[in-house]
């Protein structure tokens, strides 16, 4: 069966344990793989997990290939999809083979073999989850990627953190008792652009998390208060404040100016690049209220995109480049909307609960991560764009989590 489009309906899937061929007697590797895969499939919004307590079959006593197990054991507990597989550990390396089965048609749909170090097992599960979505929906899933966000979980101060989409590998990027905002991944998810007041004044930084060093972007035009990094990592658009006016400048990644993009006495902020790096969406108050505009990075006249609502800001161009997500204020709180990149009718994606801010697209374009106060303190949530379904929180912890940035796929 093929699932086209998203709906409120979810498909029951059973994630059976991996059969231990060698070296995983405690099933610790199998359980890490299953736990990560199960979480990612749940976050996709397409699946409901069949409760493992209802499983009839013992994966250690049956096979994992077609003909080596009984589909009736899975049909009788109402699983429509089934994941089975094997694990073997030798010489410190893990090899996992996983397979997706269609229970009703009693056929194998897809299989993958992964090998690597034991600490790479969760990432093998994420890649398998992405492959499950690809074979079932036609589009690769977005879970082999990273989330950056701002959090006050370690105290009063806003610091920048990263984690996997499924909530593992929490890493604290900044640790300064000031203000850190607006993390944004480069295309490789090696570098994070962010704004920090760590010198007691705002400045833009590029932290290279792989090489563990960072660059501060300096300019003679004034103070940088925000920015975006281009998909190829070679360009930055910075919002620079000078004598009260904030304008956008195109720069290279060392802060050398290429051109001034806006030139008003007002406010021009929150730039977002299109996937081809040629178009920008941004917020400007040139009409008298904050509204979303687009313009070419070559310069020229901006085009106003949003007309309904008196406070529309923080645009994010979708990975396909066909639409813009943004936040629109209503009664002192925000909702996330989507609008065609050429303008048109806005579509409200969130449901009016809490304040919903800072949309960031998943690399496959099917999901948006956003910050919401719907549960009290601010958390990062995942929304399925087509169905408007708010699937889950992505962050847990004390403090407020804001400013999500969903990276591109991590690649090989």
């Amino acid at each position: 069966m093929t699932i086209t489009g998203a709906s409120a309906q979810t498909w029951p899937i059973a994630v059976s344990g991996l059969k231990n061929l060698a070296g995983d007697d405690s099933q610790s590797i199998s359980s890490r793989f299953d736990r990560t895969l199960s979480r990612d499939l749940t976050l996709s919004g397409y699946y409901t997990l069949v409760d493992p307590h209802t499983f009839i079959e013992d994966p250690q006593k049956s096979g994992y290939q077609l003909g080596q197990f009984n589909f009736d054991d899975w049909k009788s507990i109402r699983a429509e999809f089934l994941v089975k597989g094997s694990v073997q550990v030798s010489g410190g390396k893990v090899q996992i083979t996983a397979r997706l089965f269609d229970v009703y048609q009693q056929r194998s749909m897809m299989g993958k073999t992964f090998s690597g170090d034991p600490d790479e097992v969760p990432r093998m599960a994420r890649r398998f989850a992405d492959a499950v979505l690809e074979v079932v929906t036609g589009t690769k899933g977005p879970f082999d990627s990273k989330l950056a966000f701002v959090s006050t979980r370690r105290g009063r101060f806003k610091e920048i953190f990263t984690q996997s989409i499924d909530g593992q590998d929490l890493f604290q990027v900044t640790n300064n008792p000031t203000i850190n905002l607006f993390p944004m991944w480069d295309h490789n998810a090696d570098q994070l652009l962010y704004l920090s007041y760590k010198t007691m004044a705002p400045a833009l930084y590029i932290a290279n998390l792989v090489e563990r060093r960072e660059t501060r972007i300096d300019t003679h035009h004034g103070r940088i208060i925000g920015g975006a990094i281009s998909p190829d990592g070679h360009r930055i658009v910075a919002a620079i404040e000078n004598a009260g006016a904030t304008n956008l400048y195109l720069m290279d990644s060392e802060g050398n100016e290429i051109r001034e993009l806006s030139d008003t006495g007002g406010i021009n902020v929150s730039p977002s690049f299109s996937p081809d790096g040629q178009t920008l969406a941004f917020t400007s108050d040139r009409s008298g209220t904050p509204q979303v505009y687009t313009m070419s990075i070559e310069g020229g006249a901006p085009k106003r995109i949003t007309y309904s609502g008196e406070y529309n800001t923080t645009p994010a161009i979708s990975p396909k480049g066909d639409s813009i997500a943004y936040q629109s204020r209503s009664g002192g709180r925000f909702d996330i909307f989507k609008i065609p990149i050429a303008g048109g009718t806005p579509e409200m994606l969130t449901d009016g609960s809490g304040s919903n801010e800072s949309a960031s697209w998943s690399p496959d374009g099917r999901y948006i991560a956003f910050a919401s106060t719907r549960g009290g303190r601010s958390r990062i949530y995942i929304l399925q764009v087509e169905s408007h379904k708010i699937i889950s929180t992505l962050t847990e912890g004390n403090g407020n989590d804001t400013n999500p940035s969903w990276s591109w796929w991590l690649g090989d």
Partner: protein, 192 residues
């Protein structure tokens, strides 16, 4: 850390290029920098504490006070008085012009002192837009003081956006308190 499963093919291209390293190296602890006390420190805490001498010791910026645990103090935190703004507005309100005149008089009486105007917003807008709006508010006060004869070279500005509220309730009275310019005086040497 991030490197994982670089198996079959697929080399990872790096786009590092030539970078101007302004900041110090990351991970001060692992590099054994002096004065780094936390063994668990990670990330890019490299400039913490550096460049924080904006004013004199007795005239810290609100951010410095906040960072050192003294909290956010508004209103009567110094010899100059705060002014306030309308929602999403950065024009000096008529009722605040007398405050700015008094602030200008104090600065004229203390020619060896400089002032940093700190622009702030209530928490109902987006973070980045509010930083720009706070900059507008700080500039409005600077322009006003300049027209009253204070040299612009004595007046610096900074915006904290909605990041340093002095009131945390969700009501108009609180929002009004947070939409403020706060004035921090510093010693005789020009601070920036």
């Amino acid at each position: 850390m991030i490197r994982i499963h670089r198996g079959r093919g697929g080399s990872v291209t790096r786009t590092a290029g030539v970078m101007r390293i302004v900041a110090a190296a990351l991970l001060c602890c692992s590099l054994g920098a002096a004065g780094c006390s936390s063994k668990k420190a990670q990330g890019v805490d490299n400039l913490n504490g550096a460049g924080s001498q904006v004013g004199t010791e007795t005239d810290k910026s609100t951010l410095e006070k906040n960072a050192s645990g003294e909290g956010v103090i508004g209103g009567q935190g110094g010899p100059l008085t705060d002014i306030h703004f309308g929602y999403n507005d950065y024009t000096v309100q008529p009722q605040d012009s007398s405050i700015l005149r008094a602030n200008a008089t104090w600065l004229q009486d203390h020619p060896d002192r400089n002032v940093q105007v700190e622009g702030n917003c209530d928490d109902r807008g987006s973070e980045e837009y509010n930083i720009a709006l706070g900059a507008k508010r700080a500039q409005s006060a600077k322009d006003y003081l300049t027209t009253l004869g204070i040299s612009p070279g004595r007046i610096s500005t900074i915006s904290y956006g909605k990041e340093l509220p002095i009131c945390h309730e969700q009501d108009e009275s609180c929002w009004q308190q947070n939409r403020r310019d706060h004035f921090v005086v510093s010693g005789g040497q020009a601070s920036r």
